[in-house]
Protein backbone atom coordinates (compact mmCIF):
# COMPACT_ATOMS: atom_id res chain seq x y z
CA UNK A 1 0.00 0.00 0.00
CA UNK A 2 1.32 3.49 -0.79
CA UNK A 3 -0.07 7.04 -0.51
CA UNK A 4 0.39 9.71 -3.16
CA UNK A 5 0.34 13.50 -2.68
CA UNK A 6 0.55 15.99 -5.52
CA UNK A 7 0.93 19.77 -5.68
CA UNK A 8 1.29 21.97 -8.76
CA UNK A 9 3.17 25.28 -8.74
CA UNK A 10 3.80 28.06 -11.25
CA UNK A 11 7.43 28.05 -12.40
CA UNK A 12 8.56 30.81 -10.05
CA UNK A 13 11.44 30.83 -7.56
CA UNK A 14 9.17 32.17 -4.82
CA UNK A 15 7.53 28.71 -4.83
CA UNK A 16 10.77 26.99 -3.77
CA UNK A 17 9.86 27.63 -0.13
CA UNK A 18 6.53 25.90 -0.63
CA UNK A 19 7.75 22.86 -2.53
CA UNK A 20 10.58 22.34 -0.01
CA UNK A 21 8.10 22.47 2.88
CA UNK A 22 5.77 20.10 1.02
CA UNK A 23 8.41 17.41 0.45
CA UNK A 24 9.93 17.88 3.92
CA UNK A 25 6.61 17.17 5.58
CA UNK A 26 6.11 14.00 3.55
CA UNK A 27 9.72 12.90 4.06
CA UNK A 28 9.14 13.13 7.81
CA UNK A 29 5.82 11.34 7.53
CA UNK A 30 7.64 8.65 5.56
CA UNK A 31 10.04 8.21 8.47
CA UNK A 32 13.26 9.56 6.97
CA UNK A 33 16.03 10.78 9.28
CA UNK A 34 16.45 14.58 9.66
CA UNK A 35 19.59 14.56 7.49
CA UNK A 36 17.72 12.65 4.78
CA UNK A 37 14.80 15.08 4.99
CA UNK A 38 17.23 17.93 4.38
CA UNK A 39 18.81 16.02 1.46
CA UNK A 40 15.37 15.61 -0.12
CA UNK A 41 14.66 19.33 0.28
CA UNK A 42 17.97 20.24 -1.30
CA UNK A 43 17.55 17.83 -4.24
CA UNK A 44 14.02 19.04 -4.95
CA UNK A 45 15.12 22.67 -4.70
CA UNK A 46 17.87 22.03 -7.25
CA UNK A 47 15.56 20.14 -9.61
CA UNK A 48 12.81 22.76 -9.37
CA UNK A 49 15.33 25.53 -10.04
CA UNK A 50 16.70 23.69 -13.09
CA UNK A 51 13.22 23.31 -14.53
CA UNK A 52 12.58 27.04 -14.17
CA UNK A 53 15.97 28.04 -15.54
CA UNK A 54 16.57 25.46 -18.25
CA UNK A 55 13.32 23.71 -19.19
CA UNK A 56 11.23 26.91 -19.15
CA UNK A 57 14.07 29.35 -19.84
CA UNK A 58 13.28 31.51 -16.82
CA UNK A 59 10.40 32.28 -14.47
CA UNK A 60 6.90 32.01 -15.99
CA UNK A 61 3.33 30.93 -15.30
CA UNK A 62 4.08 27.45 -16.74
CA UNK A 63 3.41 24.62 -14.31
CA UNK A 64 5.65 22.29 -12.32
CA UNK A 65 3.99 19.29 -10.73
CA UNK A 66 5.45 17.61 -7.68
CA UNK A 67 4.18 14.14 -6.85
CA UNK A 68 5.28 12.30 -3.72
CA UNK A 69 4.67 8.64 -3.02
CA UNK A 70 5.25 7.36 0.47
CA UNK A 71 6.26 3.74 0.21
CA UNK A 72 7.11 1.28 2.93
CA UNK A 73 10.84 1.83 2.72
CA UNK A 74 11.22 4.95 0.57
CA UNK A 75 9.92 8.30 -0.57
CA UNK A 76 9.51 8.64 -4.35
CA UNK A 77 9.32 12.16 -5.73
CA UNK A 78 8.45 12.91 -9.34
CA UNK A 79 8.74 16.41 -10.77
CA UNK A 80 6.94 16.98 -14.07
CA UNK A 81 7.22 19.89 -16.47
CA UNK A 82 6.43 20.42 -20.13
CA UNK A 83 9.36 22.59 -21.06
CA UNK A 84 12.44 21.90 -23.17
CA UNK A 85 13.82 18.34 -22.89
CA UNK A 86 17.59 17.79 -22.60
CA UNK A 87 20.18 15.04 -22.60
CA UNK A 88 21.35 14.47 -19.02
CA UNK A 89 24.12 12.14 -20.20
CA UNK A 90 25.67 15.04 -22.13
CA UNK A 91 26.10 17.13 -18.97
CA UNK A 92 29.68 16.88 -17.62
CA UNK A 93 30.43 16.42 -13.91
CA UNK A 94 31.82 19.44 -12.07
CA UNK A 95 35.63 19.60 -12.16
CA UNK A 96 36.66 19.21 -8.51
CA UNK A 97 40.35 19.45 -9.37
CA UNK A 98 40.08 22.99 -10.70
CA UNK A 99 41.48 25.66 -8.40
CA UNK A 100 39.51 28.74 -7.44
CA UNK A 101 39.97 30.80 -10.61
CA UNK A 102 39.06 27.86 -12.86
CA UNK A 103 36.11 26.62 -10.78
CA UNK A 104 32.85 27.12 -12.66
CA UNK A 105 30.38 29.04 -10.58
CA UNK A 106 27.49 26.82 -11.71
CA UNK A 107 27.03 23.19 -12.71
CA UNK A 108 26.41 21.80 -9.23
CA UNK A 109 22.65 21.20 -9.33
CA UNK A 110 22.53 17.91 -11.24
CA UNK A 111 25.53 16.59 -9.35
CA UNK A 112 23.84 17.36 -6.01
CA UNK A 113 20.65 15.61 -7.10
CA UNK A 114 22.58 12.46 -8.00
CA UNK A 115 24.59 12.54 -4.79
CA UNK A 116 21.69 13.25 -2.46
CA UNK A 117 19.11 10.81 -3.83
CA UNK A 118 19.41 7.02 -4.04
CA UNK A 119 17.91 6.69 -7.50
CA UNK A 120 17.48 9.38 -10.18
CA UNK A 121 15.78 8.94 -13.55
CA UNK A 122 14.94 11.41 -16.31
CA UNK A 123 12.00 10.34 -18.51
CA UNK A 124 10.89 12.33 -21.55
CA UNK A 125 7.34 11.59 -22.74
CA UNK A 126 5.96 12.69 -26.10
CA UNK A 127 2.42 14.05 -25.83
CA UNK A 128 0.89 13.52 -29.31
CA UNK A 129 -2.28 15.51 -28.48
CA UNK A 130 -0.29 18.72 -27.79
CA UNK A 131 2.71 17.93 -29.96
CA UNK A 132 4.88 18.68 -26.89
CA UNK A 133 7.22 16.61 -24.77
CA UNK A 134 6.71 16.38 -21.04
CA UNK A 135 9.66 15.73 -18.75
CA UNK A 136 9.62 13.59 -15.65
CA UNK A 137 12.36 13.52 -13.03
CA UNK A 138 11.87 10.57 -10.69
CA UNK A 139 13.95 10.62 -7.49
CA UNK A 140 13.95 7.99 -4.76
CA UNK A 141 15.17 8.44 -1.18
CA UNK A 142 15.31 5.20 0.75
CA UNK A 143 15.05 4.84 4.52
CA UNK A 144 18.14 3.68 6.35
CA UNK A 145 17.97 0.09 7.46
Amino acid sequence: MSSTYTEVYPARFENLDRVRDFVAELAEKCGLEPAAVYAVQLAVDEAFTNIIEHAYGGESEEKIECMCQIEKDALVITLRDCGKPFDPSAVPEPDFEADLEEREVGGLGLYFIHQLMDDVQFIFVDQPETGKTCNLLRMVKRKEK
Partner: protein, 111 residues
Protein backbone atom coordinates in the same frame (compact mmCIF):
# COMPACT_ATOMS: atom_id res chain seq x y z
CA UNK B 1 16.17 35.79 4.24
CA UNK B 2 17.61 38.73 6.19
CA UNK B 3 21.05 40.25 5.76
CA UNK B 4 22.81 42.46 8.32
CA UNK B 5 26.09 44.07 7.35
CA UNK B 6 28.59 45.61 9.77
CA UNK B 7 31.65 47.44 8.53
CA UNK B 8 34.70 46.87 10.72
CA UNK B 9 38.14 48.38 10.43
CA UNK B 10 39.73 45.48 8.56
CA UNK B 11 36.69 43.57 7.37
CA UNK B 12 32.97 43.55 6.67
CA UNK B 13 30.74 41.18 8.58
CA UNK B 14 27.70 39.87 6.73
CA UNK B 15 25.18 37.97 8.84
CA UNK B 16 22.56 35.99 6.95
CA UNK B 17 19.35 34.68 8.51
CA UNK B 18 17.00 32.21 6.85
CA UNK B 19 17.06 30.42 3.52
CA UNK B 20 19.45 31.02 0.65
CA UNK B 21 17.91 29.64 -2.55
CA UNK B 22 17.37 30.77 -6.15
CA UNK B 23 14.75 33.24 -4.94
CA UNK B 24 16.93 34.93 -2.32
CA UNK B 25 20.50 34.39 -3.58
CA UNK B 26 20.38 37.54 -5.78
CA UNK B 27 19.80 39.60 -2.63
CA UNK B 28 22.90 38.07 -1.02
CA UNK B 29 24.88 38.64 -4.22
CA UNK B 30 23.83 42.29 -4.16
CA UNK B 31 24.89 42.76 -0.52
CA UNK B 32 28.31 41.23 -1.26
CA UNK B 33 28.74 43.16 -4.51
CA UNK B 34 28.02 46.40 -2.66
CA UNK B 35 30.97 45.64 -0.42
CA UNK B 36 33.44 44.59 -3.14
CA UNK B 37 32.33 47.47 -5.37
CA UNK B 38 33.31 49.78 -2.52
CA UNK B 39 36.83 48.34 -2.75
CA UNK B 40 36.49 46.20 0.38
CA UNK B 41 37.58 42.60 -0.12
CA UNK B 42 37.78 41.08 3.37
CA UNK B 43 34.37 39.64 4.07
CA UNK B 44 33.23 37.44 6.93
CA UNK B 45 30.02 35.56 6.29
CA UNK B 46 28.24 34.57 9.49
CA UNK B 47 26.10 31.58 8.49
CA UNK B 48 24.97 30.54 11.96
CA UNK B 49 21.32 31.40 11.30
CA UNK B 50 21.14 29.97 7.78
CA UNK B 51 18.60 27.14 7.69
CA UNK B 52 18.96 26.20 4.04
CA UNK B 53 21.43 26.84 1.25
CA UNK B 54 21.19 25.51 -2.30
CA UNK B 55 23.79 25.62 -5.06
CA UNK B 56 22.44 29.09 -5.89
CA UNK B 57 23.96 30.22 -2.60
CA UNK B 58 27.18 28.33 -3.23
CA UNK B 59 27.46 30.07 -6.59
CA UNK B 60 27.32 33.47 -4.85
CA UNK B 61 29.96 32.37 -2.34
CA UNK B 62 32.39 31.14 -4.97
CA UNK B 63 31.85 34.18 -7.20
CA UNK B 64 32.57 36.54 -4.33
CA UNK B 65 35.57 34.49 -3.24
CA UNK B 66 37.03 34.85 -6.77
CA UNK B 67 36.53 38.61 -6.67
CA UNK B 68 38.03 38.94 -3.21
CA UNK B 69 41.08 36.73 -3.70
CA UNK B 70 42.04 38.29 -7.03
CA UNK B 71 45.36 40.20 -6.80
CA UNK B 72 45.64 38.83 -3.24
CA UNK B 73 43.52 41.70 -2.01
CA UNK B 74 41.33 39.78 0.40
CA UNK B 75 39.15 36.75 1.00
CA UNK B 76 35.75 35.51 2.07
CA UNK B 77 35.83 33.75 5.46
CA UNK B 78 32.99 31.52 6.62
CA UNK B 79 31.99 31.62 10.28
CA UNK B 80 29.63 29.51 12.40
CA UNK B 81 28.67 27.24 9.52
CA UNK B 82 25.85 24.81 10.48
CA UNK B 83 26.52 21.11 9.83
CA UNK B 84 24.01 20.86 6.94
CA UNK B 85 25.48 23.84 5.14
CA UNK B 86 29.01 22.54 5.68
CA UNK B 87 27.99 19.18 4.20
CA UNK B 88 26.80 20.94 1.04
CA UNK B 89 30.04 22.92 0.82
CA UNK B 90 31.92 19.66 1.16
CA UNK B 91 29.81 17.96 -1.51
CA UNK B 92 30.61 20.87 -3.85
CA UNK B 93 34.32 20.57 -3.11
CA UNK B 94 34.39 24.12 -1.73
CA UNK B 95 35.92 23.36 1.66
CA UNK B 96 39.55 23.90 0.55
CA UNK B 97 38.62 27.25 -1.00
CA UNK B 98 37.57 28.97 2.23
CA UNK B 99 38.85 29.51 5.74
CA UNK B 100 36.34 28.41 8.37
CA UNK B 101 35.90 29.68 11.93
CA UNK B 102 33.67 28.33 14.69
CA UNK B 103 32.74 31.78 15.85
CA UNK B 104 32.50 35.25 14.40
CA UNK B 105 34.84 36.81 16.95
CA UNK B 106 37.77 34.62 15.95
CA UNK B 107 36.96 35.24 12.30
CA UNK B 108 36.96 39.03 12.71
CA UNK B 109 40.13 38.77 14.78
CA UNK B 110 41.90 36.72 12.12
CA UNK B 111 41.56 39.14 9.22
Amino acid sequence: MDITTTQYKHSDLVKVNGRIDSATAPQLAKALDDITNAGRYRIILDLEEVEFMSSAGLRVLIGTQKTCKRYNRGEVILASVPKRIYDALELAGFVPLFRFFDNVLDAVGSI
